[in-house]
Subunit: 322 residues, 2 copies
């Protein structure tokens, strides 16, 4: 399982390859929120999301002979792009299995980072069976998006950076809110911040897709009733990870939820006050900090990704930008 020393080792491997993202703030954003908000801008990470960190960590952790055969991922989103670029920069092949109805732009983006994209028919083919066949035939190593100790270690490097950046600002107490799908990001950050008693991690999820919040509240794996129906598509996972829930049950506070409109509103405020581009799923932590009354005076949030189509971004601006 992921430990602080595994995270520190990942930070060493990521150094010079992933971007040390800034911790942004704005007086006018604080005035709107009526609290101090610091935003870890992972939308500025390579490939536009924090997923590159976990991907680089997992790829770089493989033994060289194993790695040379290549890596495999199931994803049509940010994890796919992270794996593709990490593989390309290691000079190894990557194969990404995507449903054939994935948006063309996501397929194109992943291919542009050098990945071989294999499309499958969700209604007639089994992704897992296809993946198993590829693994057997080509010796590819499957990298899961959150249930992988080295992926979690890579995401945890964000927590290492937050600790250092907060110390520079003399911040010793804060809620640290992470956008949450399977929980890899929140888990990595929680482990990285465990030695810092003043920081408490909380997850943020879309309302109606709050499997993590309910799992934390009950202590057992809860699932979402549906798989689709929120604009926060990047973080609509069915249930918490096997590796992530136990850590978060031990270290995290209560899970937070936000509506799609609150996510859009947070995107518009990030545009106006921070000049960063967020996707809906990457804005839920900021939305939670803006619109949840039960939080401490200082809140650090991850702005976890910025891969948003222009139409959705324009909707956020039209409805919520001043």
């Amino acid at each position: 399982m992921t430990t602080l020393s595994l995270i520190q080792a990942a930070a060493t491997r990521l150094s010079g390859h992933a971007r040390l993202t800034p911790l942004l703030n704005a007086p006018l954003l604080d005035a709107t929120a009526k609290r101090r908000i610091l935003v870890k801008a992972e939308c500025l990470q390579l490939t536009g999301s924090f997923k590159f960190r976990g991907a680089w960590s997992a790829v770089s952790a493989l033994p060289a002979d194993r790695r040379a055969k290549g890596v495999l991922a199931f994803s049509s989103g940010n994890h796919a792009q992270g794996i593709a670029l990490a593989a390309q920069r290691h000079g190894i092949p990557s194969v990404i299995l995507m449903p054939s109805d994935a948006p063309a732009v996501k397929i194109d983006n992943t291919r542009s980072y050098g990945a071989e994209v294999i499309l499958y028919d969700r209604t007639t083919e089994s992704r897992d069976a296809l993946g198993a066949a590829l693994t057997a035939e080509r010796g590819l190593h499957l990298i899961r998006p959150y249930d992988d100790p080295q992926v979690i270690a890579g995401q945890g490097t964000i927590g290492v950076e937050i600790a250092a950046q907060a110390a520079d600002l003399n911040i010793t107490e804060a809620a640290v809110i992470a956008c949450c799908g399977g929980g890899g990001l929140a888990t990595g950050i929680a482990l990285a911040l465990e030695p810092h008693a003043g920081f408490r991690v909380q997850t943020a999820e879309p309302a109606g897709f709050d499997d993590m919040a309910r799992s934390l509240a009950t202590g057992t794996h809860q699932s979402n009733a549906t798989a689709t129906g929120s604009i926060c598509d990047a973080i609509l996972t069915p249930t918490p990870g096997t590796l992530t829930l136990p850590v978060l049950a031990r270290l995290a506070g209560a899970g937070l939820t936000v509506t799609d409109d609150q996510a859009l509103h947070a995107m518009a405020l990030a545009f106006t006050h921070l000049r960063i581009v967020l996707e809906p799923g990457g804005a839920v932590a900021l939305a939670a900090a803006l619109f949840n009354p039960d939080l401490p005076d200082t809140v650090i949030v991850t702005a976890s990704g910025g891969n948003v189509d222009p139409a959705t971004f324009q909707t956020a601006l039209t409805r919520f930008a001043a």
Copy 2:
């Protein structure tokens, strides 16, 4: 006049107060441009533009007794917000003279940073006479937007950071393109990079408002035929500064120009590939790097500001985002 040592002193004063902005890049942006582009993201600076650096430098350089009486600026834009926040954080008054027809959002933003905004009628009142009266009555110190050695020194801290960030990437030769109004930014960067022989500064301006390019070409101060008519409103100055032109004539390459459409296109590509928000005037250097064939393989550009109204940003996305 500004010197490298004045810039280094400004960097010391800015440390911990201005943000060290990241030098961003994206493989897909490079593929579009067919060259390597690195983007100094000053839109992420406090107040949303590099102007905060020059403002902080000038305010902090004043003797304490002089500073305590307050500062004055003529501006309805980024310089006003930079001066207002720098003054607020020094605990001193600031007065900003703005035309009464300035957009309400700019007046509100400047006031939100604690400035006293005094509106005047452009058709019947003299800004300079009003400013002189305020200076005499209240002992305010006027800080000009570019013709001030300490303002130029503050903008030059961007060049200091670029030199260090480029060295981390083993980049020793590049064109360094700065968005250019009066030329304070380009001048500061050119002075900071003067010891680095592989870096050559070039200015970027809107087509039709290329007073600096023509002044550099002729060696004498040239003026623009009109004062309005480009969406790049932040950088529509009538003629180069008295302090800036001599430095740039000595250190800068040929001035570059871009069309308004190219600036909008650059905004859209920065949205898609870098996930940052640029205003048109803050995107002209990136536009020059994208659309000018006569540049070296590596180009470093300033993305100098991100204070854009949502409607203009949406126009950029509608017309140029994929």
